[in-house]
């Protein structure tokens, strides 16, 4: 398992680089880490007003939690997505952002992508902790499911990491990658049931479109997180298998692409 031994060998570097990312992100801002919470809060407010109040999207109440709060339902899906989007976008740019380092020092290059993704894990964890408290205040019972939330979080991290690793080298060879991905992530966001429930697609689309729609691994991830946090029940077996497979596949493929193309990074940068 070269993957694991690589990561273990550069564990300390990884920790330090992650701390650099976490520490550097909000350095010299009055709110500091507060910004990492403000961002999803503002997004939540906007989407709640637009989709919950104006367009009146009505997701099914949490089953069995009985929760019927649009904002909480939204955030249970929005937070995993925001983590995924930030991790992919940040990880994708990590090699370019550290071009000077790659050109001057040897160290395992993947630590740059890993540390960027992991720095967003820190943000994600804080956000999930706050969400858990709020869910409790509103009468949900997410505590029992927290261990599974952690597992789902790890799988999502693996999924994001695999994509980020592959895209980070692609971005060095083709600088358009990041601009293309900026557009693609917007499409992906609306192709995933975050601001509307999956049932809206199921009721309106033909079976073929629905099958296609459900191929999107993020659709499964969002569903799993909502099952655990908002509904407080176990996700379906098919969803669980699907996200595990997607995460494993993405990580192996991403790592392979990275290994294949990292040799000439210093000269291409």
């Amino acid at each position: 398992m070269s993957l694991l031994s690589d990561v273990r060998g550069s564990r300390e570097l990884l920790v330090n680089l992650t701390l650099r990312e976490v520490g550097g992100k909000y350095k010299r801002t009055a709110l500091g880490q507060g910004w990492s919470l403000l961002n999803p809060l503002v997004q939540m407010a906007i989407f709640t007003v637009v989709f919950g109040v104006l367009i009146k999207i009505r997701p099914d109440p949490g089953d069995p939690s009985g929760l019927e709060v649009f904002a909480l339902w939204l955030v249970a899906g929005l937070l995993p997505w925001a983590f995924f989007a930030n991790a992919v976008t940040g990880g994708m740019g990590a090699l370019l952002a550290n071009a000077n380092l790659i050109n001057k020092v040897y160290f395992p290059r993947e630590t740059l992508v890993l540390s960027t993704v992991f720095s967003w894990n820190v943000t994600f964890a804080i956000e999930l902790a706050v969400l858990t408290v709020v869910l409790l205040l509103f009468g949900g019972a997410p505590l029992l499911f927290l261990p599974l939330v952690v597992v789902a979080g790890l799988l999502l991290t693996a999924f994001a990491l695999g994509i980020a690793l592959a895209l980070s080298v692609a971005n060095v060879y083709f600088r358009d990658t990041q601009h293309f991905m900026a557009l693609f992530m917007q499409v992906w966001f609306y192709a995933t049931p975050i601001v509307y429930p999956y049932s809206y697609v199921r009721d309106k689309a033909s079976p073929a479109v629905e099958t296609l729609y459900r191929l999107n691994p993020m659709e499964r991830f969002v569903t799993v997180f909502r099952n655990l946090l908002y509904d407080n029940r176990l996700p379906s077996l098919s969803d669980a298998v699907y996200v595990t497979a997607a995460a494993g596949l993405a990580l192996v493929a991403g790592w392979w692409v990275f290994r294949r193309y990292e040799g000439r990074l210093a000269e291409e940068l």
């Binding site: 570097l13 920790v15 680089l17 701390l19 000077n100």
Partner: protein
């Protein structure tokens, strides 16, 4: 060269490295799709089939012109570049001083950056803890260690970078022209540290342009030309052969030199000529040399004053002389032409020097043109050969007297 030791610190084994020169540096997906492939490029071999061994405990120099592949080779040894053929084997840990402080994060404090940079260079937290005080002490920035490094002066930045790198305490240290950092006092400390390193039996690999320091500093050297190995062996013989071939000429005239002035008259060329009148960037102590300044003017300039100055790599102002002080005041110049400053004996010790040239009016208050660092040259050991420093004074030892009653008398007072 000496027989390859059983256990070389570094073995360079038939290493070749190919670079791609893109005709258009257009790394876009669209361009690639339109063409059906990535941008057209030409390949050239920066290194071709280079093999040698660096025995443990030696200080090894890589010499060659710009573009000879020596820096590419150093990067291959440092594992920053991956050879296209052959391999570099190294025993023990490596640390490369290619650019100091390159891993620093400007918003983080010096302390945080020491830990970050140390771990990039492969140090464990415990090792950094143990050496932290030594690192800060060596860099001489105790008072600023908790400030963000973006507030550091460039000197402090480089000193801290060097200090971290040297304290990694690797088995092999790779150095690329960084001997020229910091002020003179800090350079002295760096050289001491290198010496300490060598005494500890560690291996140092240096790329440098300064032939004088390479010869005295290194045990062995490899000479590369157009990516091929020309010669490898004891440093003195390799450096001498290299200089005899006339290869020590610098290709660049110290890039990054700045320029200002009103521009009615401009200095178009400044060069150093050897005794035969050929431009050179390599001279020996005591050589007869001439500095020639070429100019052009838009309008006649009355009573121009030409000026020249020398700085060494530490930025020490070594010498200056302008033509008014030299009682050489032309009535006027117009069009284009040149002027010479003849130096019968260049009394500089071995080292690297930069020329500064100016063209000002008779009052020396109005600057037509000023070129900073417009010409860089190396001084090699020649005659007189003295022990060290910047200038050669052609001092002569003698007049040994051992009668104590005479000791308070200076020679002039004796009759």
């Amino acid at each position: 060269m000496s027989a390859p030791s059983a256990d070389p610190a570094i073995a360079v084994d038939r290493v070749s490295k190919r670079f791609r020169l893109y005709h258009e540096r257009n790394q876009s997906l669209k361009a690639a799709l339109l063409r059906g492939r990535r941008a057209a490029y030409e390949e050239f071999w920066a290194l071709k089939d280079v093999s040698f061994e660096i025995p443990e405990g030696t200080t090894f120099g890589l010499i060659g012109e710009n573009g000879s592949g020596k820096s590419t080779l150093l990067k291959c040894i440092a594992r920053i570049l991956r050879p296209d053929a052959g391999e570099v084997r190294s025993a023990g840990s490596l640390a490369a001083l290619l650019e100091l402080g390159s891993g620093f994060h400007p918003e983080l404090s010096g302390r945080e950056n020491v830990y970050l940079n140390g771990s990039i260079l492969g140090m464990s937290k415990r090792a950094i803890d143990a050496r932290f005080d030594a690192i800060v002490d060596f860099a001489g920035i105790e008072a600023f260690i908790d400030q963000p490094v973006k507030n550091y002066s460039s000197g402090m930045y480089v000193r801290l970078g060097f200090s971290v790198a040297i304290n990694v305490d690797p088995d092999v240290l790779l150095v690329d022209e960084v001997l020229a950092v910091g002020d003179a006092a800090f350079q002295e400390k760096c050289l001491e540290k290198f010496a300490e390193f060598r005494r500890a039996g560690k291996t140092v690999v240096v790329v440098s342009h300064a032939m004088g320091s390479l010869r005295s500093f290194c045990d062995a050297a490899a000479w590369l030309e157009h990516g091929r190995l020309v010669k490898v062996g004891p440093a003195t013989s390799v450096v001498d052969d290299y200089i005899d071939e006339g290869h020590a000429e610098r290709q660049e005239t110290a890039g990054g030199g700045s320029r200002w002035g009103s521009g009615e008259a401009r200095l178009t060329r400044v060069e150093l000529l050897d005794a035969a009148g050929r431009p050179t960037t390599r001279v020996r102590t005591g050589d007869k040399v001439t500095v020639r300044m070429a100019y052009e003017t838009d309008e006649p300039i009355a009573k121009p004053v030409f000026g020249l100055a020398l700085e060494n790599l530490d930025g020490v102002y070594v010498w200056a002389h302008h033509s008014r002080d030299g009682n050489f005041v032309p009535d006027s110049i117009s069009g284009s032409g040149s002027v010479d400053l003849a130096i019968p004996r260049l009394m500089l010790q071995p080292g690297t020097f930069d020329l500064l040239a100016s063209l000002v009016d008779y009052t020396t208050t109005h600057t037509y043109d000023f070129l900073r660092h417009c010409y860089r040259f190396d001084v090699e050991a020649g005659q007189p050969r003295e022990s060290g420093g910047i200038v050669a004074l052609d001092g002569e030892w003698g007049n040994l007297r051992d009668r104590p009653d005479d000791l308070d008398l200076l020679p002039a007072e004796r009759t």
